[in-house]
């Protein structure tokens, strides 16, 4: 496989905490092509023939294994739409790390849009981590629009961690989950926007199974003139538990919208939503300042902790 450039290494580090080529199964996509791939006895990766993207097939009973599928874009003006589909067999326990890093040094817009579909087999456990990061001194916008569709079979569990800390000018994230009997989904989102960035998140979870559950938790910080919209909709049509929480720190001239929706279509559906938007509490700043930090250092500590 080709050697990684310094920029590719930085992007990889930021989106996948990887310093080198990962161990285990991986597929690295770079500027629309394949930079490297490795499959294992239990995890197969196959290029789709009808559209751009890959199928990741995980054999039933696969435990303690991981798949990395980072996407790197360093070419200005590149726009792509990728379809990745995960077929996870029954009784698996796996970690999937995706993520996209865009380094745009030019003046044209670079855009990555991906649709990730997960079919999680009975009683399987999946941890899915997705990080988005942008860098580059160019004036070209860095745009990402990730969509995720998750189908959870009986007794399965998926935990999704989605993180976007800096550098993405515009993002629209759509996540949909359908949760069957005894299955559960946990989504943790962390977002920080600055300058004139725009970020929209839209979660929808359909709790169709008995004893199914969804827990959606978003923490975000909006700085400067950025704008964030948080939408969530939990629909409970069986005996189920749903909880969504949006907790945002607003700064400067930013705008944060929280639009929660709950729909209960069963008497045993128990759904809760919590939303809080506010500036950093003055007493928190004062406390840290009495410990010797300046106001801006205190702010930084509070934000870092909040998004940790």
């Amino acid at each position: 496989m080709a050697e990684l450039t310094a920029i590719q290494k930085t992007l990889l580090e930021n989106i996948a905490d990887l310093h080198e080529i990962p161990a285990g199964a991986y597929n690295i996509r770079s500027n629309g092509g394949m930079l490297g791939r490795n499959t294992t006895a239990n995890i197969d990766i196959v290029t789709k023939t009808d559209k751009p993207g890959i199928d990741i097939i995980i054999k039933p009973g696969t435990k303690n294994q991981s798949v990395h599928i980072p996407v790197l874009i360093t070419q200005t003006g590149l726009k792509e739409m990728v379809y990745n589909e995960f077929f996870i067999g029954e009784d698996c326990d796996v970690v999937i790390v995706a993520g996209c890093g865009i380094h745009n040094a030019g003046d044209e817009e670079s855009e990555h849009s991906g649709i990730h579909t997960f079919h999680v087999g009975k009683n399987s456990k999946v941890k899915y981590v997705e990080k988005h990061y942008g860098s580059g001194e160019g004036t070209g916008e860095r745009v990402m629009n990730p969509s995720t569709e998750i189908y959870l079979e009986e007794g399965s569990h998926l935990e999704m961690e989605t993180i976007q800390i800096e550098g993405i000018n515009s993002t629209e994230r759509k996540t949909y989950a359908r949760v069957e009997d005894g299955a559960s989904i946990v989504i943790k989102e962390k977002i920080m926007t600055h300058d004139n960035q725009v970020a929209v998140t839209d979660f929808k979870a359909e709790l169709v199974g008995a004893d199914s559950s969804a827990d959606i938790c978003s923490r975000s910080v909006a700085k400067n003139h950025s704008k964030q919209t948080f939408k969530s909709n939990i629909i409970g049509s069986n005996a189920c538990k749903g909880h969504s929480e949006c907790d945002a720190i607003i700064m400067d001239e930013a705008i944060v919208e929280a639009i929660p929706e709950l729909t209960a279509a069963n008497i045993d559906a128990s759904l809760i939503h919590e939303a809080a938007i506010g500036k950093i509490a003055g007493e928190q700043l004062i406390k840290l300042m009495t410990l010797g930090l300046t106001e801006s250092e205190a702010e930084e500590q509070i934000i870092n902790g909040f998004l940790k």
């Binding site: 004062i286 009495t290 410990l291 010797g292 902790g305």
Partner: protein, 256 residues
């Protein structure tokens, strides 16, 4: 050494559309050692502490710290000069851990062992608390002890504790006094403790009595404490809040 010269602090009285004087032309020199500030609730004790820490600015007057005029300095600058203020009501932080706060307080990178040492000093099992978030999951008493651990980690020549015993049970009362002694041993300087507790007043070198924004009494413990016992100072001073539950107060003593 801390000197307050003609310090007044006025706030707008919303009800009357008038100014209300919270601190009235206070003159006070605090030498090294233990100084207890006592007096009735609402008398101006906490306000005085906030004025020294820089959280509020006096309407008039001067504050000198080791001879230097710090009246115009910010909270951060005063903190760097060596003033520590342990709040009466500790602040909660979503996401920041006990270790984060103790590290910030110590002002340098510290090892886990050092951070744990500070927690042990306030009677908290370090292992259990070091990685805990300082959020709503901690009780008031736990937060209070973490607040004190931060003050220990600071090791500054002036430490002000605002009702440190509130929420701390009988078991740790002796430890608390131990903590004060340790800080004094390591950092020297002055320790100012705002308190209603006789046991704390008992270890003070000097006692200040504040009521109605004025200093009513200031002197050596041996002179002031007997006066308080006789009820010579404006009442009620001691044992007038529920935080003293379980601890003998001066009033109890008088009854005996």
């Amino acid at each position: 050494m801390l000197e307050l010269k003609n310090i007044s602090y006025l706030v707008d009285d919303e009800g009357l559309g008038d100014k209300k004087e919270i601190i009235k032309n206070v003159n006070l020199t605090i030498e090294d050692g233990f100084v207890a500030i006592t007096g009735p609730n609402g008398g101006g004790k906490s306000t005085l502490a906030k004025l020294v820490a820089g959280i509020i600015t006096p309407t008039s007057g001067q504050i000198l710290f080791n001879g230097e005029d710090i009246t115009g300095l910010s909270i951060t600058e005063r903190s760097k000069k060596g003033i520590t203020f342990a709040f009466q009501q500790p602040v909660r932080f979503k996401g920041l851990t006990v270790k984060d706060l103790i590290t910030i307080a110590s002002g340098e990178k510290i090892t886990i062992n050092e951070a744990c040492g500070y927690l042990s000093e306030v009677g908290l099992c370090a292992k259990e608390y070091i990685d805990r978030e300082v959020n709503a999951s901690l009780s008031g008493g736990e937060l209070k002890r973490i607040e004190i651990a931060m003050a220990i980690a600071r090791k500054t020549p002036l430490t002000i504790f605002d009702e440190p015993e509130a929420g701390i049970d009988l078991w740790s009362f002796q430890n608390l006094i131990h903590v004060f002694e340790n800080i004094h041993e390591k950092a020297g300087g002055s320790i100012i403790i705002i308190s209603h507790q006789e046991r704390i007043l008992n270890i003070a070198d000097r006692i200040v009595v504040i009521a109605d924004g004025e200093i009513k009494e200031y002197g050596k413990r041996e002179e002031i404490l007997p006066k308080l016992l006789k009820g010579a100072a404006p009442a009620p001073i001691l044992g007038d809040d529920d935080t003293t539950l379980g601890c003998p107060t001066l009033l109890d003593k008088i009854k005996q």
